[in-house]
């Protein structure tokens, strides 16, 4: 299944909408984009509503985004983590350590509150 990421900028915050399957095949080509995004934005909301599948390589890239933004003093919130991605987040205990939000609006509100 192909993967796509749409980027939208809302007053200094990047909203990334992920579609399809983020796995070992699609995660690698996305890595350079993630590095660029992490450099440009101090505030990132990642919308997983349309993400059907994620594997450990996919989680690795999201973690990389999270770590890079945090290193520069920024914040990342993950929105609409449901279905299979939710299971993976739970298994890795990421649900406890990452900031999760029910939807993009809630994520933006969380980011605003932190700023």
């Amino acid at each position: 299944m192909p993967f796509r990421c749409d980027v939208e900028e809302r007053t200094g915050t990047a909203v990334l909408r992920l579609f399809g399957s983020l796995d070992i095949a699609t995660a690698l080509p996305w890595k350079p984009d993630v590095a660029l995004l992490a450099e440009r934005f101090a505030s990132v909301a990642v919308d997983l509503a349309e993400l059907v599948l994620i594997d450990s390589s996919g989680v690795g890239v999201l973690i990389s985004l999270f770590k890079r933004v945090r290193e520069r003093g920024g914040e990342v919130v993950f929105a609409s983590v449901n279905g299979q991605p939710r299971e993976i987040f739970r298994l890795l205990r990421l649900d406890r350590s990452l900031d999760l939000a029910a939807g993009v609006d809630e994520a933006l509100a969380q980011l605003k509150a932190k700023a």
Binding site: V59, I63, R96
Partner: protein
């Protein structure tokens, strides 16, 4: 038309047609060049006079002879033997040479066409049938013109192929190609091989010039040739039409080296300035050589590719050996406790890892883990983390503190997309109490004695290693009873997928654990058998690791030891 026919060994059979004045001597400007120190630079001349030909000796040092008599001026007659130093010729008239016409192919050397007013006079090279020589050819046109006979051409090609087929080194290959081209085209003053650089530009890769050659050939293939030679794959012979001042003239040959759809470059043979030495026949020859060269270059490329793959395979094998060397070769031999470990990487190397080791006299450490990613990089990282863990385990007796220690080390390496899930637990061999810490990994399962009930050890959990620097892993204590079986595995077991894309899943996994014998060896074998029956022919996509720990039930007899230790 009369002829001068060489009859001594030096060039027996060479025939020189006498049409106009013919100069004979050692100097290169003579019509007939006789390369010997006994010949003067300008030795003699034969001129048409009074309906025949007259030989003049031009004050040569060693004289000119006709029928072994010194002559200064002599009117030649049919079948006279003319000698200059060691070279003897017979003067043949039309009538006397008629007899030789019956076997013209025996003539090995070509005539000199001594038309009046042609400068510079030609030198003799190559060989062709006398009958095929014609006056309409440019007298200066030499080189491969004389290589008309297919046999000679084939032999030249064969020698070329032999030479270039004996090497698979591309640099050496290019070197041999240019050297051969200069040899085959004696009139060329430079040969160039153009090949595509990284930007797709055709640049000169190999150049060979004769010592007396003019300017360096251009570094890039001129664009006007690109379309014709490369895109349309045609060999071309070109002569500049208009000359701008100061620019060199002269003819050029370009031929593409094409194999299948791959253009391996362009061969360029350059003629000397002010000359047009190449013919269509030369171009045919160059085309054939270019085709041969393309085959050789393709072979070299294939060879390089197979070398590269062989090296990759060796790297993988080495990584596998390194990884295997980090896995425990032998399970600890503790009274009443049995360990079985099974490890099946999806590729030659994997990101899964396990370790079972003595911490001190009464405690054994058990670790199972999974690095994100797959292949060599994951395997090498896992190997590194295994030594980190061994070190942490000796410093920190508490499993939770040990995992926190490993987490810090991994974070310090700043590999942003890498993380590790794992369970680390210690077993007190006397009390059979286990202390468990879990970093984002599947919870260990205990199959209870007797009832076969499955219990998950849910406590002691924290985020996967390598993500946050402030993670705490609380340790959880659980008492094992006699007859209990502890099962640890990686998610490759759940996620094993069959041909229709369905996963083995938690339910099948738990059924396999709960049914049948609880002995570690039998339980592991059963689980693997169920897995392989379910997956069938589908390729394994993730590493699979299983560790089973059995605590003896004194009421049940122990199976033979060999059965228990199947770690590999």
């Amino acid at each position: 038309m009369p002829w001068l026919v060489a009859i001594e060994d030096h060039s027996a059979g060479a025939r020189y047609r006498l049409a106009a004045t013919c100069l004979i001597g050692r100097g290169p400007y003579n019509h007939v060049v006789l390369d010997d120190t006994r010949i003067s630079r300008q030795h003699a001349k034969i001129s048409p006079e009074a309906g025949g030909f007259v030989l003049y000796d031009l004050n040569s040092a060693n004289g000119s002879y006709v029928n072994e008599a010194t002559v200064k001026r002599y009117k030649l007659e049919a079948n006279d033997l003319v000698r200059f130093g060691p070279f003897t010729f017979r003067y043949e008239t039309e009538a006397s040479s008629e007899t030789r016409r019956s076997s013209p192919a025996t003539a090995r050397f070509v005539e000199v066409l001594t038309s009046v007013g042609i400068e510079p006079p030609a030198k003799i090279v190559g060989s062709m049938d006398v009958a095929q020589s014609s006056l309409d050819q440019n007298p200066a046109q030499i080189g491969l013109v004389e290589l008309e006979d297919a046999d000679r051409k084939l032999r030249t090609l064969y020698r070329f192929l032999q030479s270039i087929a004996s090497t698979l080194d591309t640099t050496e290959l290019l070197d041999r190609i240019v050297a051969h081209l200069l040899e085959v085209f004696p009139k060329a003053d430079a040969v160039v091989i153009y090949q595509q650089d990284a930007a797709g530009e055709l640049r000169s890769k190999q150049v060979k010039r004769r010592r007396d050659a003019g300017s360096m050939p251009s570094l890039n293939l001129p664009p006007q040739f690109r379309d014709e030679v490369v895109r349309r794959s045609r060999a071309i012979l070109s002569t500049p039409v208009a000359q701008s001042a100061g620019k060199r003239r002269g003819s050029n040959m370009h031929a593409p080296m094409v194999y299948g759809d791959v253009v391996h470059g362009v061969l360029h043979v350059r003629g000397p300035a002010e000359e047009s030495p190449f013919s269509q026949s030369d171009l045919d020859m160059l085309s054939s050589m270019a085709a041969q060269a393309a085959v050789a270059l393709q072979n070299a490329r294939n060879h390089l590719e197979s070398l590269r793959q062989e090296r990759l395979r060796q790297d993988l094998e080495l990584a596998q050996q390194i990884q295997m060397s980090f896995l425990p070769r032998q399970m600890p031999d503790a009274p009443g406790i049995a360990f079985v470990a099974e490890y099946k990487p999806a590729y030659s190397v994997g990101g899964d890892f396990y370790d079972v080791f003595w911490l001190n006299y009464d405690r054994i450490g058990v670790f199972i883990g999974d690095v994100s990613g797959k292949g060599v990089s994951a395997a090498l990282l896992m190997a590194r983390i295994s030594s980190d863990l061994r070190l942490a385990a000796t410093i920190e007796p508490d499993p939770g503190r040990a995992l926190e220690h490993v987490n810090r080390i991994v974070l310090e390496r700043r590999q942003t997309e890498v993380f590790v899930t794992g369970v680390y637990l210690t077993i007190d061999v006397k009390t059979r109490e286990i202390t468990v810490a879990n970093a984002g990994h599947m919870a260990p399962i205990i199959r209870k004695r007797g009832t076969g009930q499955l219990v998950r050890i849910e406590g002691g959990e924290g985020t996967a290693i390598g993500i946050f620097d402030d993670v705490e892993y609380p340790s959880q204590q659980v008492q094992l009873e006699s007859g209990d079986t502890l099962v640890l595995c990686t998610d490759g077991v759940f996620e094993a997928t069959n041909l229709v894309g369905e996963q083995f899943g938690a339910v099948r996994f738990e059924n396999s654990l709960a049914m049948g014998s609880s002995h570690p060896g039998s339980l592991t074998k059963r689980l693997l058998a169920d897995l392989s029956a379910y997956v069938g022919e589908a390729p394994q996509s993730d590493d699979i690791t299983i560790i089973v720990v059995g605590v003896d039930d004194p009421a049940v007899p122990r199976p033979a030891r060999g059965d228990e230790h199947t770690a590999r």
